[in-house]
Amino acid sequence: MIPELGQFSLILAFCLSILLGVMPLAGAATGNRLWMRMGRPLSAGLFVFLGICLAILAHAFVTDDFSVRIVAAQSNSLLPMQYKVTALWGGHEGSFLLWTFMLAGWILAVGVFSKSMPREFVARVLGVLGLLCASYILFMLATSNPFDRMVPVPPTDGADLNTALQDIGFILHPPTLYMGYVGFSVVFAFAIAALLSGRLDAAWARWSRPWANVAWAILTIGIALGSWWAYYELGWGGWWAWDPVENPPLITWLCGAALIHSLAVTEKRRVFKSWTVLLAILAFAGSLLGTFITRSGLLTSVHAFASDPSRGVFILAILGVFVGGALLLYAIRAPLIKSEFGFGPLSREIFLLANNVILVVAAASVFLGTLFPMFYQALTGDLISIGPPYFNIIFVPLMILLVILLGIGPISRWKKTSGAYLRRQLGKVAAASVLLGVALPLIVLLDISIPATIAVALAVWIVLGICRDLVAKTANKPSRWQGLRSLTYGYYGMQGAHFGVAVMLIGVALTSYFSSERSVLLQAGDSVELGGYEFQFAGSERIAGPNYDADRATVLVTRDDEAVADLYPELRVYLANGAPSTEMAIDPSLLRDLFVTPGEIRDNGAWTMTVYVKPFVRWIWLGAIFMALGATLAAADRRYRKLARARGHAHDPAGGEMKLGEAWSAQPTRSKAS
């Protein structure tokens, strides 16, 4: 009976989302205040009822109700409790419910944190989001009902959660990724609301910025978690595989990064307006594309859910209606948008434009490489795959260019910068970068190579650029400390995120070029040497886990006869269905990871193993953390809150907007370009 209540609750949520999609938009169009005001309570109701759906489904998983089809397919009575709960999103239906619930959460957040925005604008944003949510719920009801029952006879036990998913990474990665992904719907809705109202002004960009920042920050963490999980769970020691389902989040992330920068220009200089709107639409399209690829089963991937063509068509229809509709609206409105200020050929605007072009070209090339096999098959009938070298060839030069510009952009000035000024500011920084780029890898890794030199030089370029800028920004203050305190959260956020780029760059480059690995066959007592470390296979034992049996090997790692780490890789067999799973063992540290992947046990007791030494691999995820923290810090900037308060007192929305616009245009000179 309880799952039927969930179904009922889902239908109610659908009705609420339809109302939310219609009433506030109609109200904004006709000026009916009552209809507009319905947005907030409806969004709260939607959140509550989708929350009930999720809770009921979780209850079915926790209580082993195998009459519910997805519980039978994805769970098992032996499964530890934390995985019973999270097995909910171990398949298509449950994960889509989670996705929709995340959207409802964002809608609720918009309702709560939009007190300062004009009534019509909030109504339009909530309306667009309501329509989107309605289409998701309709998709669930029509093609992927999570509350489906097994009739007539339910199985006595479930088929178990895929063993690769029984891991902390599975608890963290999907919800975070979804939350970030779905957050770009909010920015999209802001853009559509602005297009609908025909007021694409600085105010729109200012309201969008914190949302874009937070969505991007969460997406960054979501992607990083996925990378970290794949690294230690899939056992091939890689952190990014250019997998067709890894790529759409990256496309969204790249568009999102471009959007964050473009929004800054639109807000402060009132240029790039139509471009910014287009980016908001693109980032959202990227997120829907990800859903489509994962759930349509069109591409081969480790992530693909068991496929059903009708789902793919439905999602494609959602994508077509929303993105197509948005682009149509854009085509109608864009000619009306006028940029207000000009800028010189050497200015911060130009650097940010270059940033946008590079990021979007990178996103487009990832898109092309991801979907090319599909197009190719449709045209020729031949099956192909695109290798990682394609992505690397395109990506590496683009990112090098981006990082060089990243060092200059924050120091350059709005509107017009002189080349002499930039040379004065950055000449020594550039020289130091080259010098340290050669020296540092030599000192730390006792090795010289061109890729490492380029990477370290670029990272130093970013870091010293940040320091140089801090010095310049605080030079005219009575004391350094006062100077540092006068800088805004927005500024520190930006520099923090840029610092993250430097950290990630080091991680990516050094791991890619200095990792070593060896696959070996070892008898107990044998050892293998790799990268100065000695890995000795001391023996193995049988152990019993909560829902699996395992053979556990003991690998003793020494360096110059000193113990470094004891590693215990496992070969598990899960009791529910006999599924095998290998558990790597890792000794992590900031400068290098030692990593053992077990292969198989031979009849004579010998183990096959792959051992890895991966320098600086942690820096990849550390960099992502800095980026996410930076973006969040920037979203917490006082001026958004200050403006929110000021806005709260203005009665006439149009008048208030204009006053704020004026007040704002005086500010950038103070906060960033001093």
């Binding site: 895929n162 690769a164 056992g235 089963g297 069109l298 591409l299 081969t300 480790v302 693909a304 068991a306 070209v361 090339s365 092309l368 490489g369 090319f372 190719y376 031949d382 099956l383 192909i384 795959s385 695109i386 290798g387 070298p389 394609y390 060839i393 395109i394 696959s519 070996v520 066959l521 529910a576 269905n577 006999g578 599924a579 095998p580 799973s581 290998t582 992947t597 292969g599 198989e600 031979r602 004579n604 096959t608 193993m609 792959t610």
Partner: protein, 156 residues
Amino acid sequence: MMKPHRRKRLGAILFVAFGLSVAATLTLFALSQNINMFYSPTQVANGEVESGTLFRIGGMVKDGSVERRQDSLAVSFVTTDFVHDVPIEYEGILPDLFREGQGVVAEGSLDALGVFQASRVLAKHDENYMSPEVRAAIEQAGGSPENHQFRESPED
């Protein structure tokens, strides 16, 4: 005569168009250099692939065909679409879900003897999921993937 601002604009448009076409050309070139074709055992047996060409092959691991060397990581097995077989040799660690009677995709090339020398072996990630390539390969050869898709039923 064109007005100066028009000429400037035309110049900008031409510049952007030029940049875009260069970028597109380079991208397509990179793409064409990195295409891995996928062939089924039947296509390989029919001699559609020359030896030395890098490609992917997919099919089922034939029952009873897996042989491991006792003193090294070398392993050999036969992949089949239930019509034709192709022998595969590989040196390295096989993925978790590599089993006889299960789907497999290998990347590598044919040697002079017609043996596929794999540089990478991919097994499917999910028990119930069959990669579209393997499915298509078997269907093309006239087999039915449904009969072979699932693992042996659990012994409980």
